[in-house]
């Protein structure tokens, strides 16, 4: 099983806020810090733009893990956006857990524009955790499977 898991490359969707985390991802790239190629970044104006439906939709369309990155609390470009994100995602992730969906499949991480290394290590760590869970079976839409 562990061998299989090493082979298995999970599909990760990362919602990154335009002002901090996306720039952080950029920095990780320009510093040649490696993170898995199966992390698909979706740029959003602010982490609080991420509607819970986006997260479910990502799982429906084949994501095995969804991570949401934004500015550190207090640093939001729009002053308070990420405070709302924090509450919303706390509640949503708790609900997903309640429905029996593995909680390691979802994560919120605050990554600033200067934290290229944190971005890379976060993605590496998240991808590893999700890989150990195997493919997402509990929030999949069979119609989207090949």
């Amino acid at each position: 099983m562990s061998e299989l898991n090493q082979e298995y490359k999970p599909l990760i969707v990362a919602f990154c806020c335009n002002w901090c985390s996306y720039a952080g991802a950029d920095l990780a790239g320009s510093n040649r810090l490696a993170y898995p190629a199966d992390v698909k970044i979706i740029r959003v104006p602010c982490s609080c733009r991420v509607n819970p439906m986006f997260i479910l939709r990502a799982f429906q369309r084949g994501a095995d893990g969804v991570i949401l990155c934004g500015c550190h609390p207090g640093d939001c470009h729009y002053t308070t956006g990420n405070y709302y994100t924090r509450r919303r995602m706390s509640m949503l992730f708790s609900m997903l857990d309640y429905l029996g969906i593995e909680r390691e499949r979802t994560r919120v991480e605050w990554v600033s524009a200067a934290e290229g290394a944190k971005f890379a290590s976060t993605m590496n760590d998240f991808a590893k955790k999700v890989a150990s869970l195997g493919p997402n079976k509990r929030l999949e839409d069979l119609r989207c499977k090949p």
Partner: protein, 332 residues
Amino acid sequence: MQTVNTQTLIERASALLQDGTVSAVLGWKRGEFDYDMTPAVFTTAEELAAGFVYNDFCGANLSKYLLKKTREIQGKILVFLKPCDTYSFNQLLTEHRIHRENAYVIGVPCSGMADIHSIRKITGEGIARVELTEGGLLVHTLYDDAPVAVSYEDAMADRCKTCKSKKHVAYDELLGEEGDVLDSHRFDEVAKLEAMTPDERFAFWQGELSRCIRCNACRDVCPACTCEKCVFDNPDSGVENKAPGGDFEEKMFHIIRAFHVAGRCTDCGECSRVCPQDIPLHLLNRKFISDINKTYGEYQAGETADQRPPLVNFTQNDPEPSDVVKGGHDHA
């Protein structure tokens, strides 16, 4: 058994119609049987006398009808609200969804409403007549010669067994005695689910939600679901859907619906009452309520009409999602 009866309410409503305080009355209309009342509007004392009824089967929460009624009515509409309904009423006021000046609220005490489904579980199908007596209900079936006695406790709707409050939080006039907020143990069922393993929880919800037929009754009855156009009806939302196309769609619908009312749901229990497939939808809403209470402090939606719901609020020291979703069990 309810402490106020049909006659008391008709008399009061007729008087208010007569003196011009109100121009219409929102209540319940007698049905074919003893238990199938339909919410209805009455405009004259004759109409009230002919069809108005109030008894243990008048469980429907009338507050949502005020959305439309208080906007279209000339004058005031009288509405009878049970304690739990007044929370919905307040919440609707908070969100500026009803015109307060066009509503005249009479709070009616409630000792718990009976539910025909609870009774059927005891007596079986074929209920010819239900007699309300001092000691309980006497259910006459089509098949047994002797009526079956059912206690009020057993006949009660599930939501009433964990009633959170007998206190009216909004009214213009109150009939009977004011009650208290109760220590209801309504989160026990949530805690029971939380104590399960993720696999068990998944199996439980998969079993429940897979019965969903997407009739939208839960949404349409919900006093917190007041959007002019629901995302699930909006072709531009990308999630518009009519039928459960697969397991995913049902989960998506119910998670998102519960999320949209999180912090605004007063836990009136209408969603579970109307579900034709008997899905315990209130357990989703209660999970949010319980999480909000634990994470951001006790909050009861609708307690007053000027609260800021917790999900459109924040503090700088809120816990991180990773700290909130903790405990439970590790996945194998």
